[in-house]
């Protein structure tokens, strides 16, 4: 029997979010993909999902989903689960979807596997691949029958367009409970940054503790600017307060898959590797020759990052000018 897989599709600037399309594309390869789109723009977004393999789209175009976090979506998914029996709920690992998944899991005792990089069915059994601790890969499942939740790591799956998709669109007729409108978004603030966005940049230059102190992070920014890339950071220096959270690359933080990743003074903690291992080329500079980052590097340089970075920035500028 074909499996029915639900995905929750988030909306960004009037379009389905890329991370949602990644999981929808994957769901379409596993069985019957059904998407759930919630929010004021849901009706406009729903038809767009045909192109990405959705066989059915549930739509509820209520602006309450945009104003109130988590609970309206959890209530709606709960309602749907009363009358439908999907085999799996496959969500992207985003801020909103993580909050929704955590509550939905608790409400229905579903079972929840996070940070999946792959999944497949072997017969009836779901097999979810979860990298763990750098050295291990875990294969996990929901053993209890009934739908479980899987959160997929960003960029684990590519967005695939399909020809001639023809999803049935069902408009939900659900009255949202007033009590669910309790976590209110008062305002949204976008913080503009110079250069390309970290997640989209084809070159990322990141810094870690090896930079010694916060003031030295400018060396990373200068190299990133010279290369036309984006600067990033490890959790360690974000935790230390050198930089805001938006710079963080890692399992927590952003997953990047640039063509080139330059790790400066980064030892290579598992948490960091998880966020950048998919980079095509990795260059690492670190004074400790035993740093784990070197095991992942295409080019590893054992040396002082504070000496090498300004030299490299100058060299890049010189060669680019030629």
């Amino acid at each position: 029997m074909a499996k029915t897989i639900w995905t929750l599709v988030e909306i960004e600037y009037g379009r389905p979010a890329r991370s949602s399309l990644e999981v929808l594309s994957k769901a379409a390869t596993l069985g019957r993909a059904e998407a759930i789109v919630l929010g004021a723009q849901a009706a406009e977004v729903a038809p767009m999902l045909r192109e990405y393999g959705a066989a059915k789209v549930y739509v509820h175009a209520d602006p309450a989903y945009d104003t109130y976090l988590t609970l309206p979506a959890v209530d709606t998914l709960s309602e749907l689960l009363k009358t439908h029996q999907p085999d799996l709920l496959l969500f992207p690992t985003t801020y909103d979807a993580r909050d929704i998944a955590a509550r939905l899991n608790a409400r229905h005792n579903l079972g929840l596997i996070t940070d999946a990089t792959d999944l497949q069915y072997e017969g009836d059994e779901l097999r979810v691949t979860v990298p763990w601790g750098g050295e291990n890969v875990v294969t996990a499942t929901h053993p209890h029958g009934g739908p479980g939740i899987v959160l997929a790591r960003p960029k684990a799956f590519s967005v695939e367009k399909v020809e001639g998709g023809n999803a049935e669109i069902e408009t939900l007729n659900i009255a949202l409970n007033g009590a669910s409108q309790s976590i209110k978004i008062l305002d949204r603030v976008e913080v503009a940054s110079e250069g390309p966005a970290l997640e989209e940049a084809s070159i990322v230059v990141s810094g870690g503790r090896g930079l010694g102190k916060a003031e030295n992070y400018k060396l990373v920014e200068e190299l990133a600017a010279a290369l036309g890339g984006a600067p990033g950071a490890t959790r360690a220096i974000v935790d230390a307060g050198w930089l805001p959270y938006s710079y963080q690359v890692g399992q927590t933080g952003k997953t990047v898959k640039p063509t080139l990743y330059i790790a400066c003074g980064i030892s290579g903690a598992i948490q960091h590797l998880a966020g950048m291992k998919g980079s095509k080329y990795i260059v690492a500079i670190n004074k400790d020759e035993h740093a784990p980052i070197f095991a992942s590097a295409d080019l590893g340089v054992v040396g002082d990052v504070l000496t090498i970075l300004p030299q490299l920035t100058a060299e890049v500028k010189k060669r680019k000018a030629q």
Partner: protein, 261 residues
């Protein structure tokens, strides 16, 4: 106000490459240095700061773990937390995020918590699924990924991290607040703090104290099963060079070779 912070003891992420035991399929905790999760240190600091701003409030750290996890709570007390509760029980081994949340929620309900702090996720498991489940079990709001928090009367307002910046989000108390790592500077325990920690109230609870059935937690209650543990595929070994004054040249050569410049 009755404030709480949920904390976890984990293998030291700065010195231990954490491993899974292929037999038990659990995290290897023996023979490794265990510490209070560094992410929790930021969260505790955020909670202490708010407690001191609000005044007339008490901050309690709650931890589920083996008896040895009391060390993590001692550190929380030394940082400035007022009292500590450890839930420890043999039946808890192998608990998933939901089992953990069930236990912590039972403690918080019994205590009548007004405001509950958690880290966005732990630094060993990273699921981030415990705080939202606690909020669900208690039937209260969760304010997640906070990098700033203010409380006025019965209302909490946070700056919630998003991909593009942040949202300003509010909810009525009681509520669970999760703190984004890096948003608050960790407070280091002073000698005075360490000495006074020994005299602070420390309570230990078992499952029976909380009225939770053993079948709902631990491995018995887990809704996920590990089928296999394999080795991660290693990336093909690259070239390692020592800087002899020409590293910048060599890196630039590498970038040019692969058309990255």
């Amino acid at each position: 106000m009755k404030m709480y912070v949920c904390v976890k003891q984990i293998p030291d992420p700065n010195t231990v490459v954490s491993k899974l035991d292929p037999n038990t399929k659990r995290l290897v905790r023996s023979g490794v240095t265990l510490v209070l999760d560094p992410g929790d240190e930021c969260t505790i600091s955020a909670a202490i700061k708010l407690r001191d701003t609000l005044g007339d409030s008490e901050l309690t750290a709650v931890c589920m773990g083996p008896a040895g996890a009391q060390e993590a709570l001692r550190r929380a007390l030394a940082m400035g937390v007022d009292r500590a509760i450890l839930v420890t029980d043999p039946a808890l081994a192998g608990s998933d995020a939901l089992g953990t949340a069930r236990v912590l929620a039972a403690v918080l309900k019994k205590e009548g918590a007004d405001l509950i702090f958690c880290s966005t996720e732990s630094t060993d498991g990273y699921t981030g699924m415990v705080p939202g489940a606690i909020a669900e079990f208690l039937g209260i709001a969760q304010l997640s990924f906070a990098r700033e928090i203010t409380v006025e009367g019965q209302k909490a307002t946070i700056h919630r991290v998003t991909q593009a910046g942040y949202q300003i989000v509010e909810a009525n108390l009681p509520a669970v607040v999760t703190i984004a790592s890096g948003s608050f500077e960790a407070i280091y325990p002073t000698m005075k703090g360490i000495m006074s920690a020994k005299k602070k109230p420390f309570e230990q609870l078992s499952l029976a104290d909380l009225g939770i059935e053993a079948s709902q937690v631990g491995e018995a209650g887990a809704r996920e099963r590990v089928l296999a543990i394999g080795q991660a595929e290693a990336r093909a070994a690259g070239q390692i060079i020592k800087d002899e004054g020409d590293a910048a040249q060599k890196i630039a050569d590498f970038l040019q070779r692969y058309a990255l410049l």
